[in-house]
Amino acid sequence: MKRITAWRRRPWAGYAVVLAALAAIGVVYAGFSPQTERAEAKSSAQAAQDLKNGQELFNKNCASCHGLNAEGTKDAKGKPLAPSLIGVGAASVDFQVSTGRMPAMNPGAQVPRKEPIPAFDTSIKTDYEDPKEREHAEKQKAQAEKNLRDLRAYVQSLGLGPEVPPASAVDPEGGDVALGGKLFRTNCAQCHNFTGQGGALTGGKYAPPLSGDDVTPTQMYEAMLTGPQAMPVFNDTTLTPKEKQAIIAYLVQTREEPNPGGNGLGRIGPVSEGLAGWLIGIGLLVLAAMWITAKKPKKLKKS
């Protein structure tokens, strides 16, 4: 016991202990997980291949506008045509491609949401009766998911940017809906409307509706995080992930909520109400007035 105590006092003792510990860990690691290492080796090869797939997809679908090195392009007058994608991050790519905005079709005031191109369409129907068809669709979907993942990874590899949020961060069940409503009305509703029906911006641009089921919670999160097109950025330090989740919870609950008063009339407020009042209300009552004061029934005309 005494000897050990004496050793402890030696100057090299600290290093020795650390070395011993490291050696022990190394042995244990090597002994317990030979497979992990091999898997890692394999996965790094796989990763390289994925990255290559991502690059191929990029060259095929994106490079024509964004440039082969994602540096962005400009027209003859030096006006940017397409922005550089270096540093925009995976979240931005995921948002733009999964909402079908990219690849863009033709330049307009704003790139509209549309069906994603087949290579990235992760929302295709898979619930076919025919097992063969279903298998085919599922395969296609899996491929699209992989393509999207690879493309994201490729762009992320060009320069780090915001990552795609994990599923737990966007789960509408976990959000504080009261806080979300307050934040939405203060910072989002001015463009997207109370109920997420969208609205007009300047120059023919518009804030897209958020009320459709195709707008996924992940896309909402990514939009806030990256600020696509005219939308401002709400990074994770301005609105924390918890607060973003609250906003998502508010939006999802609002769109899933039934309209207790009957038809929602588009949920855009008094414009459609006034229209309904005039067309349906006054229309029906004018018909009633015409019936009440109409000349007598036709068949009696010549009695």
């Binding site: 409307n193 120059g203 023919g204 008063g261 209300g281």
Partner: protein, 542 residues
């Protein structure tokens, strides 16, 4: 109808009232009062019955509504707002919607009835204007009607502001901004209305008092006056057979008109209930409580405030700052001028028209719109002006739905709000004159019968027949313009009405009113042959 006496219960009641009020004389005189028939005469009734519905449902709502701006934390049954701070007014409106049985229905019926109330007043006003029913002796009722519409606008604005939701709070904020911009007294008016700075604690209780007591009281008084005057003067009639300035033709009040108006009362109730049941209106739970920092795109007022909102939107940003004072024409002009022109013009119109045409007679038979082209064209110009401002109030919704540039819509309305009415005036007048010409043709040449006749020398011609009796009466209801006495007679002495600049103006306007009139006369220069050939269809006249 039997000659026997009424059942004992009725007889007894009538007797009881008669012995105390002498009412039977009144009943006897009015029980068969004649009401001319036309579908458009019922538009005003929609307003009357919506008002009744508003009073009934409004009373129901007051039983639960709490007009207080005290802040509470909501813990009611609408889960999405649990834990949100809001005013008691908003919380109690949520309670009416989600916890009081039938509360939501009553709220929706109340709001739909308000929309129909205003819409039907406007429709009724258009009918009255275009048929010339506002002319002497009915100018007072016309003015009362316009005042009711303006009171209705205030009533509606105050009413939809009560729940203190985000949408209506924005409306109040705009009201405050407009009030504040009034020169000299603006800031004082603002402080006095809101009991301090916006939003303060007082505005909702104050609006509540105005909304449930003062303004409905005024409207009720005006409605009563409107109805009594109408009853006393008797309703106007359309220019059809049997209707003359001296005699009114139609069905007796009791039982026919009573049953008809009763049925219409039920229709109005039914349609409003239908809307209340199946069309959601003012879903305040989706708008959220009022929060001065929050705003939604597409924040619009109810439709009757739309023209004001539109005027505010398209006004250029004129403002003067001088000698330490600021005058905001960018707010004052849109707030006062467009509706001032419309309502002020409408109130003055009967008198202007009488002055210009020199027509001081009483009118009980309406004019067909084509037979007063200047009036009809002016009306259409006003409709265009109002309509464009109204659309401008929804320019963001238009821009969003049709994907056009927001600023382009503003410029579109800035231009058309000036040009549109002028164009509408010209086009409408042309159409009216064209229709007059057609009428003159029908009277002069008869109606094309579709029968082709061959004359002895082999020519083909279509036989023209005289119009049917009823049609002819309608066509001949036109009062042809008589050339006014020349401003100066043969000896150069000016006519009494044409002296001075005012007189000159009057005679010029008078000429503008009548110069292109197309006379519709029975014994014109028509093809006698055609008229004769149609004489066999001459009807037996009474």
């Amino acid at each position: 109808m039997s000659d026997t006496t009424a059942p004992k219960a009725i007889e007894g009641t009538l007797g009881f009232i008669d012995e105390r009020l002498g009412s039977t004389t009144f009943f006897r005189r009015n029980v068969k009062k004649v009401f001319p028939d036309h579908w458009s005469f019922m538009l005003g009734e929609i307003a009357l019955y919506s008002f009744v519905i508003l009073l009934l449902t409004g009373t129901f709502l007051t039983l639960w509504f709490n007009p207080s701006m005290k802040e509470v934390v909501y813990d009611g049954s609408y889960t999405k707002l649990q834990g949100v701070k809001m005013s008691e007014a908003y919380a109690s409106t949520l309670r009416i919607s989600f916890d009081v049985r039938g509360g939501l229905l009553m709220r929706q019926i109340h709001h739909w009835a308000a929309i129909l109330f205003m819409a039907s007043i406007l429709a009724h006003m258009l009918r009255v204007f275009f048929t010339g029913a506002y002319r002497k002796p009915r100018e007072l009722n016309w003015i009362i009607g316009i005042n009711m519409f303006m009171l209705g606008m205030l009533e509606g604005l105050f009413g939809y502001s009560l729940p203190d939701d985000l949408l209506s709070g924005t409306g109040l904020r705009i009201t405050q901004g407009v009030l504040e911009s009034i020169p000299l007294v603006g800031a004082y008016g603002y402080m006095f209305l809101f009991g301090g700075e916006f939003p303060g604690q007082d505005i909702i209780p104050r609006l509540y008092m105005l909304h449930i007591l003062l303004i409905p009281g005024l409207i009720l008084g005006l409605v009563t006056a409107h109805m009594m005057i109408m009853w006393h003067q008797k309703h106007t009639a359309m220019p059809v057979k049997n209707q003359t300035e001296k005699k009114v033709y139609g069905y007796p009040f009791y039982p026919v008109f009573m049953a008809k108006t009763g049925a219409y009362f039920l229709f109005v109730f039914g349609v409003v209930a239908l809307l209340g049941a199946f069309a959601q209106i003012n879903p305040i739970w989706l708008f959220g409580p009022y929060d001065p920092g929050a705003i939604s795109s597409g924040s619009q007022p109810d439709w009757y405030m739309g023209p004001l909102e539109g005027a505010l939107r398209i006004m250029p940003n004129w403002e003067i700052s001088a000698w330490g004072h600021t005058v905001s024409f960018n707010v004052l002009i849109p707030a006062a001028v467009p509706l001032g022109i419309i309502f002020g013009g409408a109130m003055a119109w009967p008198f202007i028209e009488a002055w210009v045409t020199g027509d001081k007679r009483q009118h009980h038979v309406n004019t067909r719109p084509r037979n007063a082209p200047v009036r009809t064209a002016t009306g259409m110009a006003a409709v265009t002006f109002y309509g464009l401002l109204w659309l401008a109030g929804a320019n963001d919704v238009l821009a969003e739905r049709f994907h056009v540039s927001l600023f382009a819509t503003t410029w579109f309305f800035r231009v058309t709000v000036i040009l549109g009415p002028i164009l509408a005036f010209i086009v409408t007048k042309r159409i009216c004159l064209g229709l007059q010409r057609k009428d003159a043709d029908v009277i002069g040449h008869g109606v094309e019968s579709g029968v082709i006749m061959m004359s002895p020398d082999g020519r083909f011609s279509e036989r023209h027949e005289a119009p049917r009796e009823e049609e002819k009466i309608v066509l001949l209801s036109k009062e042809n313009a008589r050339p006014e006495a020349p401003a100066r007679d043969a000896r150069g002495i000016p006519a009494p009405g044409a002296k001075g600049p005012i007189g000159h103006l009057r005679s010029r306007l008078n000429r503008a009113w009548t110069f292109d009139d197309v006379p519709v006369e029975e014994h014109g220069h028509g093809e006698h042959e055609a008229i004769e050939s149609g004489s066999d269809s001459e009807q037996v006249k009474r």
